[in-house]
């Protein structure tokens, strides 16, 4: 409660400050919905992405047209739900000696489920980057301080979740990062309408006996009020070349990934996986039609496993109970490229991009089916397992790699530049977290897996400098 009051006072002071010195200030109100995305969970079961409300008041200060800072106060409720299933790892004894000629009882598979929800007051401290175009593009990144004002939980009877039972163990304060990107559209000289996508990841464990951390994704709609008219802001514009080659632009792209694994052995058991790719890149001109490209692309990568295996996410045979596995191992990344774009001839036209990239893991899971056949003694049982296991813990937090892409760009409707490109991307790091994996299966760390991805992208670059 003390922190909450402090937050309110701080916000009011900031608002007063913005009114007094309104020339460079923007304030806004946002409302939206968050989808929980817990981090640090153990391997197994499904953490459902539950919706919750997110509201906020923001206060921004712009140093110039492109760079600024932003703070504010936010209110959100994040709900987590975990669904699990008891897997029967050992053959089942039915006590079917003729000494006990009774009808057998079905094995019971418990559907585990537990719930947690947290209400937060959040204060962000962000750096904001704005790229003017027909629809203004905004990026923000920075720190987020969260104060849990309430929580509830419903631990189930499953031992796996037993550590949820002691509510007082929940950590009340959190510290994390917030990444945001979005667009804003001017409704008038002072008022903008904005649409933002936020990704929030907590850095503190919120339970003593678990590595779990808070996390969520948000989509918000906001209305921003500029304390100074746009035309005033543009009253002394900096000299600019008319050539688009000298302007920073933003390209929004969407595409399809086709990724596969490179296990050093047993690769015949794996097959490629297709997934979406959606993101943007900021194109910074370096001169002579050469650009430096960076941004964020949300990419789904992974592979498929189809064989008999003891593990659902990688081939494993150690003499234990085996399943006929038909699963997809899916990892979502936020990929930040650092590319050089070279024109091959006149621009727009054929181009070639290359450079390193950094992929930050957002989440990872195994989904699919696994069939199991038990014939132990005089018992025969055939079971179907619907697999949904979060495996974030065994997947490395990030990947780095290099990509090559080539394509063609052309103008449509005079002002819109469209890129059509093919891309090959190679990850350098082992997909799996070696230390965690060795605890689960010491023999498996000998096998290293790296991801390769082929992508087809369609990008569109909006005309710049229209605002």
């Amino acid at each position: 409660m003390k922190n909450f009051k402090l937050s309110i006072i701080l916000l009011l002071l900031l608002l007063c400050y913005s009114v007094s010195y309104s020339q460079s200030f923007t304030t806004g109100i946002t409302s939206g919905i968050n989808f929980s995305d817990i981090h640090g969970q153990d391997v197994g079961g499904k953490w459902c992405s539950k919706p919750g409300p997110s509201e906020g008041l923001s206060l921004g200060y712009s140093f110039n047209k492109s760079i600024g800072i932003q703070t504010g106060i936010g209110f959100s409720t994040v709900s987590y739900e975990h669904k699990n299933q008891y897997y029967q790892y050992v053959p089942i004894n039915y006590y079917l000696s003729s000494m006990y000629p009774y009808p057998i009882i079905d094995p019971i598979y418990y559907q585990g489920g537990s719930y947690m929800d947290f209400s937060f007051v959040r204060i962000p401290l962000l750096v904001a980057v704005t790229v003017p175009s027909a629809v203004q593009f905004n990026m923000r990144a920075g720190l987020l301080f969260s104060f849990a004002k309430g929580h509830g939980s419903n631990p189930n009877y499953y031992y796996y979740n037993s550590y949820y039972s002691d509510y007082k163990d929940f950590t009340k304060n959190d510290f994390g990062f917030l990444f945001s990107s979005g667009v804003s559209y001017p409704l008038s000289d002072r008022i903008d309408l904005s649409l933002n996508l936020n990704y929030i990841t907590g850095r503190k464990k919120f339970m003593e006996y678990s590595a779990m951390r808070h996390g969520s994704s948000e989509i918000t709609i906001g209305v921003n009020y500029n304390f100074i008219k746009k035309n005033k802001l543009n009253s002394n514009p900096e000299p600019q070349s008319d050539s688009s080659a000298h302007r920073v632009t933003v390209t929004y792209s969407a595409g399809l990934n086709y990724s596969w694994s490179t296990f050093e052995s047993g690769s015949d058991k794996y097959s490629p996986l297709s997934g979406p790719s959606l993101g943007f890149s900021v194109n910074i001109p370096l001169g002579h039609e050469v650009y430096f490209l960076t941004g964020v692309t949300f990419e789904r990568k992974g592979y498929a496993l189809k064989d008999s295996s003891e593990s659902f996410y990688r081939y494993q045979e150690r003499g234990g109970q085996e399943y006929l596995v038909d699963t997809k191992i899916i990892t979502d990344y936020a990929v930040i490229p650092f590319l050089i774009s070279l024109p091959l001839g006149k621009s727009p036209g054929v181009f070639f991009n290359t450079g390193p990239w950094l992929g930050l893991k957002l989440n990872s899971r195994t989904v699919g089916l696994a069939y199991n056949e038990i014939n132990s003694g005089s018992v025969y049982r055939y079971t179907k397992n619907v697999v949904y296991d979060d495996i974030e813990k065994v997947i490395n937090n990030y990947d780095i790699g290099w990509l090559f892409s080539g394509g063609v760009s052309f103008l449509v409707f005079n002002n819109y530049k469209v890129d059509l490109s093919a891309q090959f991307s190679a990850g350098f790091r082992d997909l799996f977290e070696k230390k965690v994996l060795s605890d689960i299966d010491p023999a498996s760390i000998e096998q290293k897996m790296r991801l390769r991805t082929m992508s087809l992208h369609l990008g569109i670059t909006l005309p710049s400098g229209k605002r």
């Binding site: 669904k83 079917l96 979406p276 049982r381 055939y382």
Partner: protein
């Protein structure tokens, strides 16, 4: 182009929002199969296993049980079956008959189970035991495995044993034992029989119970040591005297079937020599060998005074036959059987074996028909028609685990191991 971009973006969004179902497990097929005949039942070789055998499938699911195809075969033993293969009926059952073979003691009937497509599912086995003639067959389950004492009444054709604090009477088959319940028979510990076929049972509480009607009824005797509530040792000598012993009491005997008791040994301290065997010789004297080493004694005054005799080696067991020939077992040079025809004054070595271990000796000399079966613990069983003649000895059953030997009223030899709860049966066909 705008539409194409929007379409592609929408497609990506749809793919990225792909929903996967919650984890779950569902049992698609679930069968358990069993023979409705008790596993480990005991039969004679060549015997039918019951009137018929029912093989049954259990399932809690909706599969039709008659889609199950079963192949039967003899996995062990060379018996015969009446049905080699069959589909289960709508109750999930198949019936067949099994006649045991003579190939082995362990006999197994196997059912291999397939579904309609011919896919092998699993198998089930029915294992039984088939006892044979002229061979040693074990029993490690059932009450006989804990056998600690046995008496046989060849006139009334009954055999009783004590096992695990319970009295059992032998059934129609020699390996079948039925518990005897009687209000006076509580926690039996030992069992003995005299030459008049009176059976005596001592209990863990020091009571002595007897039956004079071959086990139809049981009556309490006068308690040998009224002040003692713990177990006692009991021995019935060849003159039908009942001898009792307890380490903290003097040895006593009863000449009237347990009604009255007489203390012996006021001077010679024979009690200190431990519980042993006593024989009445034809001259009226008593011959006693204590449980401790080398304590052979003779009494001419019905046990009041005893004269110690010298024994060869480290003697621990005596036996006196109907001709008053004394046979003595001594642990010298392995285990050596000595013979004396002069009431123990001199002994002649007859036969020696080398057991793997030595311990006290229980029922050592057992006679059936014209033969003696002599059990040497740690070695096995010797067979001889004349224990005094070394040339008549043969090695009958070499088994170093054996500790005790009994013979039932039909002449079936029953040997008990020391360290494992197992008895071995031998039925002589001749």
């Amino acid at each position: 182009m705008k539409k194409a971009f929007l379409f592609l973006s929408l497609l990506c969004l749809i793919i990225s929002c792909e929903r996967y179902p919650d984890p779950s497990i569902s049992v698609l097929k679930d069968y358990s199969f069993t023979f409705q005949t008790t596993q480990g039942n005991k039969y004679f070789q060549g015997e039918w296993v019951g009137d018929s055998i029912l093989f049954k499938a259990y399932t809690n699911h909706s599969q039709v049980a008659d889609s199950i195809y079963v192949l039967f075969d003899i996995q062990l033993g060379d018996g015969t079956i009446t049905v080699q293969s069959a589909y289960m009926n709508t109750f999930g059952e198949v019936s067949l008959k099994w006649r045991l073979g003579t190939g082995s003691f362990d006999q197994k009937l196997r059912a291999r189970i397939y579904d309609l497509s011919g896919k092998y599912l699993t198998s089930a086995t029915l294992a039984v035991y088939a006892y044979r003639n002229d061979g040693w067959d074990p029993s490690a389950s059932g009450p006989d495995a804990g056998m600690s004492g046995l008496v046989a009444d060849t006139v009334n054709k009954v055999t009783y044993m004590v096992s695990n604090n319970t009295l059992y009477r032998q059934g129609e088959k020699y390996f079948i034992w039925n518990a005897v319940t009687d209000a006076n028979v509580i926690s039996p510990r030992t069992i003995n029989i005299d030459r008049n076929r009176v059976i005596y049972i001592s209990t863990w509480s020091g009571e002595l119970i007897k039956s004079t009607d071959h086990g139809l009824s049981w009556d309490k005797c006068t308690k040998p040591y009224p002040d003692r509530s713990e177990y006692i040792y009991v021995y019935v000598s060849n003159d039908n005297y009942v001898w009792v012993y307890a380490w903290d009491h003097k040895t006593r005997y009863s000449a009237d079937g347990g009604s009255t008791w007489t203390d012996i040994d006021p001077q010679s301290g024979i009690t200190a020599q431990g519980f042993g065997n006593i024989f009445r010789l034809k001259d009226g004297s008593l011959l006693y060998h204590g449980g401790n080493c080398c304590n052979l004694n003779r009494s001419f005054d019905n046990g009041l005074t005893w004269t110690k005799l010298t024994t060869p080696g480290f003697s621990n067991k005596i036996y006196v036959n109907d001709k008053d020939e004394i046979f003595l077992c001594s642990q010298s040079g392995g285990t050596t059987i000595y013979k004396s025809t002069d009431y123990g004054l001199t002994f002649t070595s007859v036969y020696s074996v080398f057991p793997q271990w030595n311990t006290s000796m229980e029922n050592t000399f057992n006679k059936w028909g014209h033969f003696y079966y002599i059990l040497i613990p740690g070695y096995g069983i010797l067979k001889t028609s004349d224990p005094g003649n070394p040339d008549s000895y043969t090695e009958f059953y070499r088994n170093s685990d054996l500790f005790n030997l009994f013979i039932d009223h039909n002449g079936v030899l029953i040997a008990k191991t020391l360290s494992t709860n197992t008895v071995f049966y031998y039925k002589n066909s001749r």
